[in-house]
Amino acid sequence: MNTTLLQGAAVNATIWAYITYMIASVALTVWVAHTLHKNGRVFLVDSFLGNEVLADSVNHLLVVGFYLINVGFVSLALKYGVKPRDTVEGIEFFSTKMGMVLLVLGAMHFMNLYVFAKMRRRALLKHAPPPVKPEGYLAAKKV
């Protein structure tokens, strides 16, 4: 009887830990995706030289990719590690898993920023002016 109660309590702790973890992870993923979507738009519009339609399209596609990878990772990572049997283990489980998810989100975030910056730099390079001024000019324009 005692064992069943303990087992029941353990399952409860596990379920609560899992639920809290999923909700917090997905909420954080949504928040980071929203930040990137909103603030990354400026970078993309600049990279595509004012073409807002193209920038919005690429932005949306990047966000979809971001969600796929992150929600996928969060879902997979749920099961691995020690199953929490009581509240203390539940808190530890939550903090470890959240720490992992946050680090992955952070890495994705910086990778996104790097990709945005590189696209912008490449686009600007194409229209860069000459690096030096001519020493002089020909009297008659000849090609």
Binding site: L125, A128, P131, V132, P134, L138
Partner: protein, 143 residues
């Protein structure tokens, strides 16, 4: 700016090799090559050429702007897709002395460099082939 004309030293094997390399590089700006001091150069750019004198490197843009030496080299880099970043970087005031030094060192030693790398200008190769004895036939094939 859509086109650059590069006047180079056609008597230097290393310069001729560089010209071939430039021809094969992906470019933002079209490049046209003309041996310095040649009849073509005298006809197209009379005020820049005098028969007998060969400038190490001269670039003329399609607005009549003339670039010499290090500036000419930087303009060549700027025209190339993969090297435009280097042109922008080297042309910064802090790095121009380095660019000048590098160009001066290579340019004043170009004959030696051609020797070390075994590079000959095409005119010299042509002359050698003309003077060389053709290999003799061994005779009719044995039956």
């Amino acid at each position: 700016m859509n086109k650059l004309t590069v006047l180079y030293d056609a008597a230097c094997g290393f310069c001729v090799r560089c010209r071939w390399w430039l021809i094969n590089q992906p470019k933002y700006v079209e490049m046209d090559f003309c041996p310095s001091g040649s009849p073509e150069a005298l006809e197209r750019f009379p005020e820049l050429s005098s028969p007998g004198t060969v400038e190490e490197l001269l670039v003329v843009d399609d607005e009549g702007g003339v670039y010499r030496g290090t500036q000419a080299w930087l303009m060549c880099l700027w025209a190339l897709v993969e090297y435009r970043e280097y042109a922008d970087w080297l042309s910064q005031p802090a790095l121009m002395p380095l660019a000048r030094g590098a160009f001066a060192m290579v340019s004043s030693n170009r004959k030696n460099i051609s020797g070390w790398l075994g590079l000959e200008p095409e005119t010299q190769m042509l002359e050698e082939l003309r003077q060389a004895e053709p290999p003799r036939c061994a005779g009719p094939a044995a039956p």
